[in-house]
C-alpha cells in the first residue's frame, strides 16, 4: 500500500522531533503505545502559564510511517493553540489530512491519545480546575 504524499513528506521531514525538559512545570509529557503494532509515541508540550497557549511541541515516535506522520502533524497543529483548543483535535482530522487508509487509523488514534496524555500531564502538574477537565471527567 502506498503512503500518501503528505505522509511521505512528514516521514522524510518530520517536524518538531526532540525532547523538552520533562521536569519543567510548563511541560506536559504524553507517552502512549499501540499494542497492536508495538508503536510507542512521546509527545511533549510547553505551555505559557499566562496565556495557556502551547508555545512549543516536540515528539519522538518509534513506529511506522503513518505513526510518525500522525505525531509530526499533531505537534504542528497543537502549536499556537490554547490547551483547551488543542483538546478539540480529533483523530479523524488527522486521518483526513494525511489520507490514512483504514488499517492505519489506529496511528491517528495514538496521536490524539498522545495530545490528551500530554495535556493531562500538564494539567496534573498545574492542578488547575479547568471547566474542560470537569466536563471530560463527567463523560
Amino acid at each position: 500500500m502506498a503512503y500518501s504524499d503528505k505522509v511521505v513528506d512528514h516521514y522524510n521531514n518530520p517536524r518538531n522531533v526532540g525532547t523538552l525538559d520533562k521536569a519543567s512545570p510548563e511541560v506536559g509529557t504524553g507517552l502512549v503505545g499501540a499494542p497492536e503494532c508495538g508503536d510507542v509515541m512521546r509527545l511533549q508540550i510547553r505551555v505559557n502559564p499566562d496565556t495557556q497557549i502551547i508555545e512549543e511541541a516536540k515528539f519522538k515516535t518509534f513506529g511506522c510511517g503513518s505513526a510518525i506522520a500522525s505525531s509530526s502533524l499533531a505537534t504542528e497543529w497543537v502549536k499556537g493553540r490554547t490547551v483547551d483548543d488543542a483538546l478539540a483535535i480529533k483523530n479523524t482530522d488527522i486521518v483526513k489530512e494525511l489520507s490514512l487508509p483504514p488499517v492505519k487509523i489506529h496511528c491517528s488514534v495514538l496521536a490524539e491519545d498522545a495530545i490528551r496524555a500530554a495535556i493531562g500531564d500538564w494539567k496534573k502538574k498545574n492542578a488547575t480546575a479547568e471547566p474542560a477537565e470537569a466536563a471530560a471527567a463527567a463523560q
Binding site: 507517552l31 503505545g33 499494542p35 497492536e36 503494532c37 519522538k60 518509534f62 488499517v103 489506529h106 488514534v109
Partner: protein
C-alpha cells in the same frame, strides 16, 4: 467468520439424511464427507474448547482426518465431494495451525468469546479505552521507549563508525531483562489458562481481560526483542 461456541446445530447428512453435529467433517452414521462445517476449530477435532489442550490428541486427529480427506480418496467421487475434500482440508489446516500454537489458540478462543485483540481495536473509541485500566501499561511503555532510544543511538553510532561498546553491553542487558519479562508474561498466561478452563463465569471474564492485556504486553516485548536482536546481530 467465527461462530460462537455451543452453536452446534444438528444438520442432516446430505447422503443418509441422519442428523449430525454440524462440526464433523464426516457423517458419523454413513461416513460420507460433509461440506465445511460452521462450528469452531475445536469441534472439528472433537475437542472441548479449552486453553490447555492435549497436543498429542490434536496431532493424531489432524493426521487421521488429513488422510481421510486426501484428494486420492475422492478421485471417483461426485463433484461436490471433490470440492468439499479440498475445502475441508483447508479448514482442517487452518484449525490445526491455530490450535497447536499456544498464543494463536489463546487469541482464537478469546475472540470466540468476544474479546477484541490486536488490530481489532483499530479505530476504537479512545475515550472508552482510557477508562479500561488493563490496557494501560505506563511502566512498560517507559522502558520500551527508553530501549528504542538506545537502539536508535547504537544504529546512529554504528553508521558513523564508532559504536560505544558500553551501549552494546547495555542492550544485551536489556535483552536478557526483556526476555525475563516475556517469561513472566508467559507464566502468567498459563496461570490464566487454568483459571479460564476451570473457573466460574465471573472468574473466566476476569481471566479473559487479563489475557487480552498480557497478549498486548507480549506483542510489545516480542517486537522489541526482535529489534534488539536484529540491531545487535548487525555488527
Amino acid at each position: 467468520m467465527l461462530k460462537i461456541l455451543d452453536s452446534a446445530i444438528p444438520v442432516a447428512c446430505w447422503s443418509c439424511s441422519v442428523a449430525h453435529n454440524e462440526s464433523t467433517l464426516f457423517c458419523p452414521n454413513c461416513s460420507k464427507i460433509q461440506p465445511p462445517p460452521g462450528g469452531d476449530y475445536f469441534s472439528v477435532f472433537g475437542l472441548e474448547p479449552r486453553l490447555h489442550l492435549d497436543l498429542d490428541i490434536l496431532e493424531r486427529e489432524f493426521h487421521r482426518l488429513s488422510r481421510k480427506l486426501h484428494p486420492d480418496r475422492f478421485a471417483r467421487a461426485g463433484e461436490n465431494e471433490k470440492q468439499w475434500s479440498l475445502a475441508d482440508t483447508a479448514l482442517l489446516n487452518d484449525a490445526y495451525r491455530t490450535l497447536k500454537d499456544p498464543l494463536r489458540r489463546t487469541q482464537y478462543l478469546l475472540k470466540l468469546h468476544g474479546a477484541e485483540i490486536g488490530e481489532e481495536h483499530a479505530g476504537r473509541d479512545p475515550q472508552k479505552d482510557a477508562k479500561d485500566p488493563v490496557r494501560v501499561l505506563p511502566d512498560l511503555l517507559e522502558e520500551v521507549f527508553d530501549l528504542n532510544m538506545q537502539l536508535e543511538e547504537l544504529r546512529t553510532e554504528r553508521k558513523a563508525g564508532a559504536a560505544d561498546p558500553q551501549l552494546t553491553v547495555a542492550l544485551e542487558a536489556a535483552r536478557s531483562k526483556f526476555e525475563g519479562l516475556l517469561k513472566v508474561v508467559d507464566d502468567d498466561l498459563h496461570a490464566q489458562w487454568r483459571v479460564w478452563d476451570a473457573g466460574s463465569e465471573s472468574e473466566r471474564r476476569a481471566a479473559q481481560n487479563r489475557m487480552v492485556a498480557l497478549l498486548d504486553q507480549r506483542r510489545y516485548l516480542s517486537h522489541l526483542l526482535r529489534d534488539v536482536t536484529e540491531t545487535l546481530g548487525a555488527e
